[in-house]
C-alpha cells in the first residue's frame, strides 16, 4: 500500500499525459452528467413533491425502481440501442463521451427526483399555507418553495455527483474504455485490475478519492454559506 501511495504521488507529480487525459475525461463526463441531471431532476422532483395528480404514486414507485437500477444494466441497454445493429446506430454515439453522459444522466436523474420529492413533500404543505395566508400567487408560491429548497438541491447534487464519479458499469459498457478517448478513472482502475496491476489501480483510486474530497469540500462550503 505504501507503494501505491508513492505511485499515486509519482503519477500526479510526473503529470503523466495519459493520466491527465483520463482525469479530464472523468471531469467532463461526471460534471456534465450531474449538472444535466440536476436541471432535469429538480423541477420534476419539486413538481412531484408539491402537486397531487393522478398517476403520481405510480410514477414515484417507478422512479424509486430506477434509483436502484444497476449501472451495468443501464450501460447494456444503451449499448444495445446505439450498437452498430441497434435502432439508433445512425447517430454513431457508441464508444463516445456523449453517450457516456447520456447513460449517466439516465442513472442519476431518478436520484435527484427522489431527494427533491422527499424534501418538498415534507415542506410544501406548511409553506403553501403561509403563502396562501400572505395572499401569494402560484408563481410566487413556487419561488418561495425553490428558495426554501436550495439547501437540499445542493445535497441532491452532491449525491448525484458522487454516483457519477464512482459509477463504472455504465461508462465501461457504452464507453468501451478506449484509451485517450473514453477511458475514465473508474474504467481505468477496472482495466488495471483485470491486468493484475493492483498497485496502479489503488493509486488511481486514491487520486479519485482525493479529487472527490476536494470537490465535496468546495461544494459543502458553498452549501454552508447558503444555509446562513
Amino acid at each position: 500500500m505504501g507503494s501505491s501511495v508513492r505511485k499515486a504521488i509519482e503519477l500526479i507529480l510526473s503529470a503523466d499525459p495519459e493520466l491527465l487525459n483520463i482525469l479530464s475525461t472523468t471531469a467532463r463526463v461526471c460534471l456534465t452528467s450531474s449538472i444535466l441531471a440536476l436541471i432535469i431532476g429538480v423541477p420534476v422532483g419539486i413538481l412531484f413533491g408539491a402537486e397531487r395528480f393522478p398517476g403520481r404514486k405510480i410514477l414515484l414507485v417507478l422512479n424509486r425502481t430506477l434509483i436502484g437500477m444497476p449501472p451495468v444494466v443501464c450501460g447494456l441497454l444503451f449499448y444495445m440501442l446505439f450498437s452498430g445493429v441497434g435502432p439508433f446506430r445512425h447517430l454513431k454515439l457508441l464508444f463516445t463521451v456523449k453517450l457516456m453522459i447520456i447513460a449517466q444522466v439516465v442513472l442519476i436523474t431518478p436520484i435527484i427526483i427522489g431527494v427533491m420529492e422527499t424534501f418538498v413533500a415534507d415542506t410544501a404543505p406548511a409553506l403553501r399555507e403561509t403563502a396562501r395566508g400572505l395572499g401569494f400567487g402560484r408563481i410566487k408560491e413556487y419561488r418561495l418553495l425553490v428558495n426554501e429548497c436550495l439547501y437540499s438541491i445542493f445535497s441532491a447534487y452532491l449525491l448525484s455527483f458522487a454516483r457519477a464519479i464512482a459509477e463504472v458499469g455504465a461508462v465501461a459498457m457504452v464507453g468501451g474504455a478506449i484509451a485517450w478517448k473514453t477511458n475514465v478513472m473508474t474504467t481505468a482502475i477496472m482495466m488495471y485490475t483485470n491486468r493484475g496491476s493492483f498497485t496502479l489501480g489503488i493509486a488511481l483510486g486514491l487520486i479519485l478519492l482525493t479529487l472527490s474530497l476536494i470537490v465535496n469540500i468546495v461544494l459543502s462550503l458553498m452549501q454552508g454559506r447558503l444555509s446562513r
Binding site: V85, R89, K181, G196
Partner: protein
C-alpha cells in the same frame, strides 16, 4: 472559523485514508480469491510486508514450445455485408463499417514494416521476442491510402493479450502517424471482442481462437480483402505456456507432453486457475484437459471440481496474480507472462 474546521477535517480524512490504505493492502491483494470456491490447499499466508518491488515471482514456466501450445493470432476484416441482426434477431442491412480503414490497417500490419516491428517487439525490454512471424504468412505490398475524413476512424476489437503486452501501443502510433488514421482499440477477451464485432461495433478484429474465428467466418461476418486469399489472416504466433509454482508438486515438468501435464494436475487435484471468460486462452485451456473430465466453458461442467478448479472470470494479469497468491497452476500466453515477471508480479 467554520472554514478552518472543515480544512482540518479534510486533512484528517486524508490521513485516515492513508492509514486505512495500509490496512487494506493485504485485503486488496487477496480479494480476487474471495469469489472463488475455497481451494483445497491453504492460501498462501500473508507475506511479510515487503515493498512490492522486492517481491520475487515464484510462478514459473513449466511447459512450453509444445506443438499443442501454439498461440496463433489472426486478423479478420469485418464484412460490411455480413448478416447483422439486432437483439431480436431481425436483419439489419445498413451497418456502417470503415472497410477502407480496416483494409489499410491490415495491409500495414502485414507489410514489411509492420511485420518487422511486430517481430522485434519486446526484445529490448524483456530480452526475449514476444511474438513470432509465421512461416507462409500472408504478406502485403498493397499501397496504403492516407486517411480521409470518412475513413479516419478505425475500430479495432481485440484480445487483451496483444494490448496488455504492449504490442499495440508499440505498433499503432507508427501507423497512425504515417497515414493519419486513428485506431480505437476495444480490448476484451476473444469471446467478447467477437461479440462486439458481430454487433457492428468493429471494423476489424485481432484475436486468437481458431475455433471462434472459423465460426465467425462461417456465419459470414468476415470477408476476403483485396490482395489476400483468405478471410483469416494468421500472421503471427507465440506460445501458450503452462506455469505453476517452482516446486511443481504435480510434476508437470517431467510429463511427456502438455496433455499429460494437465492430466497430472487433474489427477492430483492441484489448484488450477482458469480464465473462465470465453477468451482465447480459456478456449485453449478447455481443449487441453483429459476428455473424461468433460470440462467446457459451462459452469455446470466443472461443478464437481471446484475444490481445485478455479474459474476466475477475469483478465490474464489478474489471473496470474491469483496463481502466484494461491501457488496454483495456470495456462497463459507467454507475452503476458514475461511482462508479468519483468514487472515483479505487479504488472506495472
Amino acid at each position: 472559523m467554520k472554514k478552518i474546521v472543515s480544512l482540518l477535517l479534510a486533512l484528517m480524512m486524508i490521513a485516515a485514508l492513508c492509514a486505512c490504505g495500509q490496512a487494506a493492502a493485504p485485503a486488496a491483494a487477496t480479494a480476487p480469491a474471495a469469489d472463488t470456491p475455497a481451494p483445497a490447499e491453504e492460501p498462501a499466508p500473508v507475506e511479510e510486508p515487503a515493498p512490492a518491488d522486492a517481491l520475487v515471482v515464484d510462478t514459473c514456466i513449466l511447459k512450453e514450445a509444445d506443438d499443442a501450445m501454439i498461440n496463433n493470432y489472426s486478423l479478420l476484416a469485418v464484412n460490411p455485408d455480413a448478416p447483422f441482426a439486432d437483439a431480436d434477431g431481425n436483419a439489419v442491412a445498413d451497418v456502417e463499417l470503415n472497410t477502407v480503414g480496416a483494409a489499410a490497417l491490415i495491409n500495414w500490419l502485414l507489410s514489411e514494416e509492420g511485420q518487422e516491428l511486430a517481430a522485434n517487439y519486446g526484445f529490448e525490454q524483456y530480452g526475449e521476442y514476444l511474438f513470432y512471424l509465421k512461416d507462409g504468412r500472408p504478406v502485403s505490398s498493397a499501397e496504403i491510402p492516407a486517411a480521409t475524413e470518412e475513413t479516419k476512424k478505425i475500430r479495432l476489437s481485440t484480445t487483451t493479450s496483444v494490448n496488455d503486452s504492449g504490442l499495440l501501443g508499440y505498433l499503432l502510433p507508427v501507423f497512425e502517424e504515417k497515414y493519419g488514421y486513428e485506431v480505437e482499440v476495444y480490448s476484451a477477451g476473444t469471446g467478447k471482442s467477437i461479440a462486439n464485432a458481430k454487433m457492428g461495433n468493429a471494423d476489424l478484429i485481432l484475436v486468437h481462437s481458431k475455433k471462434q474465428e472459423e465460426a465467425f467466418i462461417e456465419d459470414g461476418f468476415s470477408y476476403v480483402i483485396d490482395g489476400m486469399d483468405a478471410e483469416r489472416l494468421n500472421w503471427m504466433y507465440n506460445y501458450f505456456v503452462l506455469c505453476g509454482p517452482s516446486a511443481d508438486p504435480a510434476g508437470v515438468k517431467d510429463a511427456a507432453d502438455v496433455k499429460a501435464a494437465f492430466k497430472a494436475i487433474a489427477d492430483g487435484k492441484f489448484t488450477f486457475i482458469s480464465r473462465g471468460d470465453g477468451s482465447g486462452t480459456h478456449t485453449k485451456e478447455i481443449s487441453l484437459w483429459p476428455e473424461e473430465l468433460g470440462i467446457t466453458a459451462e459452469a455446470e461442467s466443472f461443478k464437481d471440481y471446484t475444490d481445485w478448479y478455479v474459474s476466475a472470470n477475469t483478465g490474464m494479469g489478474a489471473c496470474l496474480v491469483m496463481a502466484e497468491e494461491m501457488k496454483a497452476y495456470i495456462l497463459t500466453d507467454k507475452a503476458t507472462f514475461l511482462t508479468f515477471v519483468a514487472n515483479d508480479g505487479v504488472m506495472g
